[in-house]
Assembly symmetry: C2
Homo-oligomer: 512 residues x 2
Amino acid sequence: MLWSGWGDPAKARELPDQIRTLLRDLMGVGEPVEAVALEEVRLPRPTLSPAALAELAAVVGAAHVRTDHESRVRHTRGKSTPDLLRMREGDASDAPDAVVLPAGHEEVLRVLEVCSAHRVAVVPFGGGTSVVGGLVAGQGVVALDLGRLDRLVSVDTESMVAELEPGLRAPDAERLLAEHGLTLGHFPQSYEYATLGGFAAARSSGQASAGYGRFDDMVVGLTVATPSGALDLGRAPKSAAGPDLRQLVLGSEGAFGVITSLRLRVRRRPSATVYEGWRFETFQAGSAAMRRLAQEGVLPAVLRLSDETETMIGLARPEAIGSGDSGCLLIAGHEKDRGAAAAVLAEQGGAHLGAEPGQAWEHGRFAAPYLRDSLLAAGATVETLETAGFWSNLPRLYDAVRLTLHAELGSPLVMCHISHVYETGASLYFTVVTNQGLPEWERAKRAVNEAIVTAGGTISHHHGVGRDHSQAYAEEIGPLGVEILRAVKQRLDPQGIMNPGVLIACPPPATG
Amino acid sequence: MLWSGWGDPAKARELPDQIRTLLRDLMGVGEPVEAVALEEVRLPRPTLSPAALAELAAVVGAAHVRTDHESRVRHTRGKSTPDLLRMREGDASDAPDAVVLPAGHEEVLRVLEVCSAHRVAVVPFGGGTSVVGGLVAGQGVVALDLGRLDRLVSVDTESMVAELEPGLRAPDAERLLAEHGLTLGHFPQSYEYATLGGFAAARSSGQASAGYGRFDDMVVGLTVATPSGALDLGRAPKSAAGPDLRQLVLGSEGAFGVITSLRLRVRRRPSATVYEGWRFETFQAGSAAMRRLAQEGVLPAVLRLSDETETMIGLARPEAIGSGDSGCLLIAGHEKDRGAAAAVLAEQGGAHLGAEPGQAWEHGRFAAPYLRDSLLAAGATVETLETAGFWSNLPRLYDAVRLTLHAELGSPLVMCHISHVYETGASLYFTVVTNQGLPEWERAKRAVNEAIVTAGGTISHHHGVGRDHSQAYAEEIGPLGVEILRAVKQRLDPQGIMNPGVLIACPPPATG
């Protein structure tokens, strides 16, 4: 992973000429911006006591407590555009003092004991791909890297459940499961680097969510190490035995503890996936077609609709960026017979475009983060944000986000797609390109958060809360909802060491 | 509802001669037992202060605070067999002092304020159909009857979401939704009397769960009145905005607060449902067929498999009880094309029995509780219990429950069916008939709870925890899980007035 950007530098993408022209002539994006060199990145002076470091080394072994420059830089923040822009400027002021790599559940428990005793904040770190400030805990922090918890522990092909460790990256998990003919079917844009623990802790949703569900749907059991001890949850697919405590850990983003094991629903690998494109006149018409597919229960595995702007720019087909297509492009990926879905799409006014647009999307499906690096290097600010709501409220949400971005950023390029649908609603995923700088973006982002809350949407469909959404999240769940989370955190993490600042803005109140 | 049993007395069922013979000759069940008359039921002396009663009357109106004999009797405990046996003997020692009927959310909030101030326990009461001791809070209690919260508030046919009030009984909810061509598709055995709020608070699952999901799957939003204020949750079908707090309220059984509004996913009413029967040689073979249907995603709306004993007794076909069929009867109810499911059932060795067994099941689908009344009157003890687990663990669970019942009860009749299936597992639902009395049954029930926990199952798939399962539930979620629930209860209900004793056995610790 590129420390100052995304992915394998060998896969970096040149910007197409049309985009360079658009950026310069239409958007007034200025000069290319070079990133500093790794060794020039500025780190804060460590404050972790030698005693604490020694105790951590006693738990995990000295080789697994890292305080070198590169390890600290590579565990600083996540991969949001503000994160990358700060890193490109050499600002690693949120770097952890040390990176600790435990070997398993018991070591995680003991690391949390040491950190509780020394009141050292702990940031669980999987793939480091948070885009919502989920890995920023202030200074004097330990990054708890789960990379050594990387095993496929067991496979139960009768129950179709596999136990996997949280530090497994998604491609490694797929490779291990493929040896058994199995798949999770979870392919978010962060797929190449994100880990299973992160998927669970932040409620990820992948590009095949129409067929495989969200990641939280796949979790049938989990083990969690907290400063107050361990939790082991999930004895059946579903239960009426009280509140579902699995659902309290899912989405908790390391604020309560560290997920150390996951029991996940797996599926047989499909024999083939048939991708295709469809064209709809308007976003509304395409959205209505998706709604019918969801409500009639004939969803393909992959379903994604670009709005007019995203279609025109060609963002759904990275090879075709700048192609200037009209209408709205819908991509469908079928693992079963496509007949029922195709009939609905045609009935709703879709024009079949054949396989090519679908294959192009599939080919470039993990390319967007690379494209962002190129845009940032060209001097543009580009970022994504997302929400979800009930179908009848989607137009209001769509308008609210776009109007706010235009009001805040002058003439940004705002593209949108729907890529996760349910019987009762869907997500909206926006990509924004602007010539404005980081302070202007951050002001606009706060305004959009407020607009989403006011328009009745949820502040995140699959990115999570982190620090960037904690204010909006508090408004979404209300003061009593925040109090519930505080009460749970206080009980599981009385010293407040677990990823402080994520989910709920303030530290828990003093005991009593 | 019959105060000392189930349902409409006019629908009471005579026991077939074969069953009378079986009870007498094979099981040694003794003489018929008469229930006392309603006016002979013994109530505890009320301890609620006149001041508290006056304040409650000021909130809901004097006509909606009831302290008469019949109201108190009718709000005593639920409908488990121990509940009915005690009531038939005239023991209403757990009766509430008063029944309070608020008109809406604001009145519920104010009732909870009054009860918090006077430290009066509150038992939310919907249909009164708990079979796990969910309505037993000791003496000096107020039963909060939700019967006046009975409106269909709104219907959003674009999002397929309806807002309904919690006091609505299921048939009334279906009638109101049918005016819009809609259905919840939720038909548990308690259907005729249970309320929507109870379904949510206890995580009900209905006979068409294979097609419509569990009730908790249908809840996209809810409003809750707690002693600490209101919660309003659910802005989208799914969200990555933190832990799903809806899932903390679902299954909370009134221990945190009172659900005052539900936003539920609805569906179009099916044009027709085709019921049919299949015969499998063994329970294992039928179970394997159900597993394939779930894992291949070709589930009918209704799917239910009786084991050899249940099939022989004919419990799945109340009109045919005592018919002595062999093998295992599977009932399927199709709302869509039955081809894919039928092909799997045939491939797995099922013999198609045609429509008659399916129609017989459908005709008698809500009859079992009436049958229980007749068995109790005949002097038998009959009760149901259930669990769920992953597919590979189901045989162990099945054996553990049966062996324990036989060890505890001599030669009981133990029947089982599978009626809720998932990709990764299923539920097991047992019906037990014995000549033993209540103390022996209660000892056996405790032993079964322990056996389920030891065998790795969940203590309830759809009955809930109540008081009867609180010990097993504590073992299932572990001490730290219990601590989480205590922390949440302490924050939402600092005086501990909400349905004390359900979910978690002990009262919350003192503040601080």
